[in-house]
């Protein structure tokens, strides 16, 4: 099982769209995927038309394995399930450690309801906290969308510094440029500079600034399901393929 965290310490960078499209791409490739909506403002559940369950807001529901497994919802796509949770970080901590422990009751419970997951995609909340640190430790891959602007450059720098300060493995960080507008000189220059500065941290795939991605909110579905041939859909596919190539 592989845990892919989609993280950004800055909001509005296309993190949720990335989580949803990436999770969908993995499911399309035949993996069993659980997409966890951890961001209180996040909308991955919304994008997949999954209503949050009342039980999810109850405190410490993770202590009850059954409640947890009952909260999982099948999406409309084969192999893609959603945990539309809005959980406390204490719960999440327990969740991560149990997902890592093969013999935990949680794993057994998951097995009993239709097999374990191959990939867990986490749509993370945007802040540095104990939770973030735990995510950084637990995840195999941390996917970081970066808008090629001066401000984003600074927040990415903060993230790298945080990794250094906490002695976290920077190798897990896989940044990519998001909401890219090629005709903007600033975008082009920032991309050039950052790619040079963080040579090993940036993926080649770029997600363009595209109206198709915004339309996900209308369609409430992954881009490739309603705009299969669009630039946005192929960009997410390229992102998936690049991650697959690196993480396998």
């Amino acid at each position: 099982m592989r845990i892919i965290a989609c993280y950004s310490n800055k909001g509005g960078v296309g993190k949720t769209a990335t989580s949803v499209n990436l999770a969908h791409a993995y499911a399309q490739a035949g993996r069993r995927v659980l997409l966890c909506d951890l961001d209180p403002q996040g909308a991955s559940g919304f994008y997949l038309r999954v209503k949050p369950s009342k039980k999810l807001t109850e405190a410490r529901f993770f202590e009850d394995v059954k409640k947890f497994t009952n909260a999982i919802r099948a999406s409309d796509f084969d192999g893609l399930d959603v945990l539309p949770a809005n959980m406390t970080y204490r719960d999440f901590d327990i969740f991560l450690s149990r997902m890592r422990n093969k013999r935990s009751r949680l794993k057994k419970a998951l097995n009993s309801v239709g097999g374990d997951y191959d990939v867990i995609v986490l749509d993370c909340p945007p802040n540095f906290s104990t939770l973030s640190e735990n995510i950084f430790k637990a995840a195999d891959v941390i996917v970081v969308p970066v808008i090629p602007t001066t401000l984003s450059e600074r927040t990415f720098e903060q993230l790298v510094t945080f990794f250094d300060a906490h002695k976290l493995r920077k190798k897990k960080l896989h940044a990519f440029f998001s909401m890219v507008q090629r005709r903007k000189t600033l975008h082009q220059e920032t991309m050039k500079a950052m790619s040079k500065l963080y040579r090993k941290r940036f993926l080649k795939a770029c997600i363009p600034f595209a109206s198709d991605i915004e339309r996900m909110g209308q369609h409430r579905a992954p881009v490739s399901t309603f705009a299969r041939r669009s630039a946005a859909a192929s960009a997410y596919r390229a992102l998936f393929e690049e991650l697959e190539g690196q993480t396998d």
Binding site: R49, V50, D76, V113, G114, G115
Partner: protein
């Protein structure tokens, strides 16, 4: 997958539009056209064993659909009508048919029109809460709608609501009613039908019922033999006739002596034209095995041998098919059927009035004693003839027991049948090896020219095969003593006594 989300298969009489509601509570049922009305063939084994195991195999529009009792709908491209399961392409349908009898071809049981639609139960956000497939089968006689539902994780409540709304009056795969409504005229085939028997039945009536039943079974196989669907039709045909002949020879004195003799001759005449075809079937079915028995250098000759078998088989089959279609044959069968189904025509003998049960016990007990006596005398030095004799005794005992099985407790019966069956399998293999050697030798005789010469490659192949068959025969023979010892154990002996001997007193 272990513990996969649950699925259900509901079978609802009637066309799709009339059985599917538009909505269930606040869920809208959305149907999307998948496969337009297309001719379908319902495929099964001759005895409908797929259907009775809760499976439905449909061929429509170049796709095979296998509907399973647990709700799964498996699909794979390809055709299967008239094919053996091993001839299908690899795929989920073939995999799920792995238990289908290897010697049986998939045959058309019925035809009609087939239509499928994808079903989604949507909530107010257009989110699918229950997914499924709706299929309609239409025949000249009726329509049946099959709904395969899939429980999506986290939507159990919606699932049970949809099941609740559709499931009213729904039937299950394997229910006879469903089948009847589509194909009311289809006659279900049973190679060994249950013959109703009561403890106070007369031996005469029992014998007549058994013969009438197996005459019917034999006739149900005629079309399959003529169409050459698979080799089991002829096999079942012969077994039915053999059962009838064993009733005639074992139920001594139930019919008048003169009539018994006439009937014996009549059934022996019916059996005669089938023997050679069966022998050839056995060879050809065992072809791969033959080739694996001998070194590759001898395969050229073995191929010649099998080419001869194949061409002889088509001649023999054509002859038998002509015979089975002939007016004379059909008149004979019709006369016999009438004779055993009606009250007139069969003349009772001195034992006719004996109770069937008491008569059966006496026969079985006597046969059993005879069998044990012979078997116990067999040592490694005994000539093969004794082993052949033992095989025939076993067969007769088994037929007798099976005829009267309905009169006895099924579980106790199994205790004695199982070791007997094992011994019979052993003896059967012994016999096959012996018969095959003999036949190969005869073939060499017919292929030898006046100067006493034979094609060298053919001769080599036959020589190789005879040598291996002889070794196998000896090995099987060596096992007979062991298998009999098992059959002759105290448990089985006690059970025989309890079942067939103590009742008498």
């Amino acid at each position: 997958m272990k513990g996969a989300p649950s699925q259900d298969m509901l079978i609802i009489p009637g066309p799709m539009d009339s059985v599917m509601p538009r909505s269930v509570g606040d869920l809208t049922l959305h149907l999307k056209q998948d496969l337009d009305q297309t001719p379908f063939v319902l495929l099964d084994c001759h005895d409908q064993s797929l259907w009775s195991s809760g499976r439905l195999l449909i061929e429509a529009g170049g796709t095979l659909y296998l509907l399973c009792k647990d709700g799964a709908v498996l699909r794979q491209k390809g055709r299967a009508d008239g094919h053996f399961v091993r001839d299908l392409h690899d795929g989920p349908v073939r995999a799920a048919l792995s238990d289908f009898p290897a010697l049986r071809a998939l045959t058309a049981i019925g035809r009609g029109l087939f239509e499928t639609r994808a079903l989604a139960a949507l909530d107010d956000l257009q989110k699918t809460q229950v997914r499924g497939v709706v299929m309609t089968l239409m025949s000249d006689a009726g329509q049946v709608t099959i709904v395969a539902l899939q429980n999506l994780r986290g939507y159990d409540r919606a699932y049970s609501r949809v099941i609740g709304a559709l499931g009213n009056g729904a039937q299950k795969l394997g229910d006879d009613g469903v089948f009847r409504s589509l194909f009311p005229n289809h006659v279900t085939y049973r190679a060994k039908p249950d013959i109703a028997m009561t403890t106070d039945e007369r031996a005469f009536d029992a014998a007549r019922d058994i013969i009438a039943t197996y005459l019917k079974v034999a006739r149900q196989n005629e079309a399959g033999i003529v169409a050459d669907i698979d080799t089991e039709f002829l096999h079942d045909y012969r077994v039915s006739l053999r059962r009838i002949r064993s009733v005639l020879s074992l139920f001594k004195g139930v019919f008048s002596e003169a009539q018994t003799a006439t009937l014996k001759r009549a059934f022996s005449d019916l059996m005669a034209p089938t023997g050679r075809l069966r022998d050839l079937d056995v060879y050809i079915l065992d072809r791969d095995n033959y080739f694996s028995m001998i070194p590759e250098e001898l395969h050229v000759g073995a191929r010649q041998l099998f080419d001869r078998f194949e061409s002889e088989r088509s001649q023999v089959l054509a002859r038998l098919a002509r015979h089975l279609r002939s007016r004379d044959y059909n008149r004979r069968m019709a006369d016999l059927t009438e004779m055993f189904n009606g009250d007139k025509g069969v003349q009772p003998g001195p034992n006719a009035e004996r109770g069937a049960c008491e008569f059966a016990c006496a026969l079985i007990w006597k046969r059993y004693g005879k069998l044990c006596k012979l078997a116990r005398s067999i040592t490694p030095e005994t000539p093969d003839e004794a082993v052949h004799e033992l095989r025939i005794l076993c067969k007769k005992l088994r037929y007798l027991m099976e005829f009267f099985a309905p009169l006895f407790d099924a579980r106790s019966f199994r205790v004695v049948i199982r070791p007997l069956k094992k011994l019979q399998d052993n003896l059967g293999r012994f016999n096959d090896c012996s018969v095959q050697q003999q036949a190969l030798m005869e073939l060499v005789q017919t292929q030898t020219n006046t100067a006493g010469r034979i094609d060298a490659r053919l001769g080599l192949a036959v020589g190789g095969l005879v040598a291996v068959l002889n070794q196998r025969q000896q090995a099987e023979r060596a096992r007979v003593i062991d298998n009999f010892r098992h059959f002759d154990g105290p448990d089985v002996r006690k059970m025989f006594r309890t079942l067939f001997h103590e009742k008498e007193g």
